[in-house]
């Protein structure tokens, strides 16, 4: 199990695959001020939501490298042969994927917030929201990656599958930025994220088993 988590981290680091969502996230943060203009108050008001959207789209990028290469190479078969359940494999992959996705994204949010001229308290809420929301995003990515593994042009389908499911995370993540602690948005974000994290290993496990037939 630990070996599998470490392997996932190694795969993410290999060839800079883990940096792709990060660079994408920062790129959106850089482009957004160009699009809406250098109006500080407007940027500060809309920037947080834009960063949540960027995080959501960045979460979509690793979808084709999480499950499909291991399925095609027979790694998932060899793990099954060793008596490891598909759900455990998915859980290990989820842990490894989040470690290579969540914390780097939270780090990247600091320069991104500066580009958006976000005030310090909003940045703090963004970081807290990302800490709670990125496990849910990672779980969605994993589930969708398993569902689309083995399909041709699965990447395009993955976007269509994943983005609607990520809407609640976006609503409560961005809502918490604006309204703060009293609104209950953070609690909702946590509840949805927890639900996704708890459900994704079972969805992914069943999808991996189904892909063998």
């Amino acid at each position: 199990m630990t070996g599998l988590v470490l392997r996932e981290l190694r795969l993410a680091a290999a060839g800079g695959a883990a940096f792709l969502p990060l660079v994408f996230f920062l790129l959106v943060a850089t482009l957004f001020p160009f699009a809406v203009g250098p109006d500080g108050p407007l940027l500060a008001r809309t920037g947080g939501g834009a960063l949540w959207m960027a995080a959501l789209l960045a979460a979509l990028l690793p979808v084709d490298r999480l499950i499909e290469p291991d399925r095609a190479a027979g790694v998932l078969d060899q793990l099954a042969l060793r008596g490891m359940s598909e759900e455990m494999v998915a859980l290990a992959k989820l842990a490894g994927h989040w470690l290579s996705f969540g914390p780097p994204l939270m780090l990247a949010a600091i320069p991104a917030a500066a580009l958006m001229k976000l005030p310090a308290d909003v940045l703090l809420r963004l970081e807290l929201g990302l800490l709670i929301g990125t496990p849910g995003l990672a779980a969605l990515t994993l589930g969708v990656a398993a569902l689309t593994a083995g399909l041709r042009r699965g990447g395009a389908l993955a976007g269509l599958l994943m983005l609607p499911l990520a809407v609640p995370l976006l609503i409560f993540g961005a809502g918490y930025l604006e309204r703060g602690g009293g609104s209950g948005a953070l609690q909702w974000l946590g509840a949805i994220s927890l639900l996704l994290v708890a459900g994704a290993p079972f969805v992914a496990g069943a999808a991996i088993r189904a892909s063998r037939d």
Binding site: G3, G15, A73, G74, A80, L81
Partner: protein, 182 residues
């Protein structure tokens, strides 16, 4: 107890019945060789025995097994030795048996088809599992590779292991049960 017991196995693939009523027992030191034309279900039978496919009917009971099929399941970017060590505690016996020692430090991505096949077989040899499931183990192997494979299989059976192999190429397995499909 048998190392592999198949009872009344039937296999459906894509709505088509490939075979049914298949029984097989493998004891320590035993071997079975599955033969048949392309598409007869040789690989499916191996995957059924591995537990990766569910039989349409019948039961599969097996001891701890190691599988070598057409997928090497090795990380392309890592060195061969490290990549094998992810799967088996000590890959040295397998690397030795399949003559891969000079390649152990090479990254997996530069290996040829035959070398990858040797690597997959090396994992089986080093696994220590009593039952070997081999799907077309001689595919892509040169004559030296085939000799090493046959020597490793003989040594495994002499040590009380069992081998369940599917091959369309001649494979030296003395006294193996024959399972003809199709």
């Amino acid at each position: 107890m048998s190392l592999l017991a198949l009872d009344g196995i039937a296999c459906m693939r894509g709505g088509r019945l490939l075979f049914e009523g298949l029984d097989l027992r493998l004891e320590a030191g035993g071997a079975a060789l599955v033969t048949g034309p392309n598409g007869a279900g040789k690989s499916s039978l191996i995957r059924l025995a591995a537990g990766l496919l569910r039989p349409a009917a019948g039961t599969v009971d097996r001891a701890e097994a190691a599988l070598a099929d057409e997928h090497p399941a090795l990380d392309e970017r890592r060195r061969l030795g490290d990549s094998l060590a992810f799967w088996v505690g000590d890959p040295a016996p397998g690397i030795e048996a399949m003559g891969l020692a000079p390649l152990a430090g090479m990254p997996v991505r530069i290996l040829s088809t035959g070398q990858r096949k040797r690597a997959a077989l090396a994992r089986v040899v080093a696994s220590g599992a009593p039952l070997w499931l081999l799907d077309e183990p001689a595919n892509g192997l040169d004559s030296d590779g085939q000799k090493r494979l046959e020597a490793a299989m003989a040594a495994h059976r002499a040590a009380g292991g069992a081998i369940f192999a599917a091959s369309h190429q001649p494979l030296a397995l003395d006294g193996a049960q024959s399972v003809a499909l199709g």
